[in-house]
Symmetry: C2
């Protein structure tokens, strides 16, 4: 009989080592950015070139990750924001900075220099309409084959979730801030 | 009048910089451990002594974090597990190892040597009944005042959630594994 059914159906896809991944960390809980920096540590362990672009956090926060990643781990880092928007007096400047951060991302992805690119807190300028979502999707879709991309921020748009290989919602069960504790050096920044 | 009500009620607690925090990263999604290692990076940036005890992951996985944290960032690291249980042929050995990992934690917390202690994947041996939950709670409650503790793993028991200052559920929206992609060096380990 030529019509014998195969022993195993096509239900289970073959597991392939993909060339690169797109990871989205979203939700209202803690750990979106710190998880991205944990992945940076892993990438550095593999001697991958790593680039980080921060869309919102500024030097004012003296972010600990930046210091260690840049100075000790050799990560290229762009932090050109001037602070979270609720601290800002000039919303237009924030917008200009987010747009220039995105221009930087397009440049470094096109150069194919990094095996890991972190777009930290990019969802906010996308959701505020400062950066075009369709362009973000097409730049990531057209990226060099080995460029892994991690995107962080609350309220990730559906198009990013569809594009991504792995999406995690960091959901706040409770947060020390709610209980009157201030943001803590060494833990939160 | 002596009975004038205060302008502001007692509803908003005074924000105090707490001496230390307990953070729990739980849920079925990606980012529980990598977020802990992002916090390790921040702590190192503050020149805090950091100790990490891994309850499950083994040398077989050649975890990238261990290499970078130990060799480059100067973190003290104990990884005495012999692999995830579903790889294991000897469940009793796993149990003995988890118990000895917990003994190590009690020792380093009592010594007051570290400002950050990470108990990576500790929820599993707790939930399997290998480590006594009440003892974990009392050791963490009685810790030195400046010792921050991060605990990771799925299904964090309620007593840990109550004990913690900050709890995040990493909820899987989608994961590359589901789509047939194998765990990826530099990203997942």
């Amino acid at each position: 009989m030529t019509n014998v059914p195969p022993k195993e159906g096509p239900k289970v896809k073959k597991r392939l080592a993909s060339k690169s991944l797109v990871i989205v960390n979203t939700g209202d809980g803690k750990g979106k950015s710190s998880s991205a920096f944990g992945v940076v540590v892993r990438a550095v362990a593999r001697e991958w070139p790593v680039g980080v672009v921060q869309f919102l956090k500024s030097g004012k926060w003296q972010v600990g990750e930046e210091k260690v990643c840049r100075d000790i781990l050799g990560v290229d880092w762009w932090a050109i924001g001037d602070g979270f928007t609720w601290d800002s007096k000039d919303i237009n400047e924030d917008q200009a900075i987010a747009v220039s951060a995105w221009d930087q991302v397009k440049k470094i992805i096109a150069e194919d220099k990094y095996r890991l690119v972190v777009l930290d807190e990019i969802t906010y300028p996308i959701n505020w309409g400062w950066i075009d979502l369709d362009e973000v999707v097409s730049v990531i879709n057209a990226r060099p084959i080995k460029t892994n991309v991690v995107l962080t921020g609350r309220d990730a748009p559906q198009a990013l979730i569809e594009l991504a290989d792995t999406v995690t919602e960091m959901r706040k069960i409770k947060h020390a801030f709610d209980n009157g504790t201030v943001a803590k050096k060494g833990i939160d920044y």
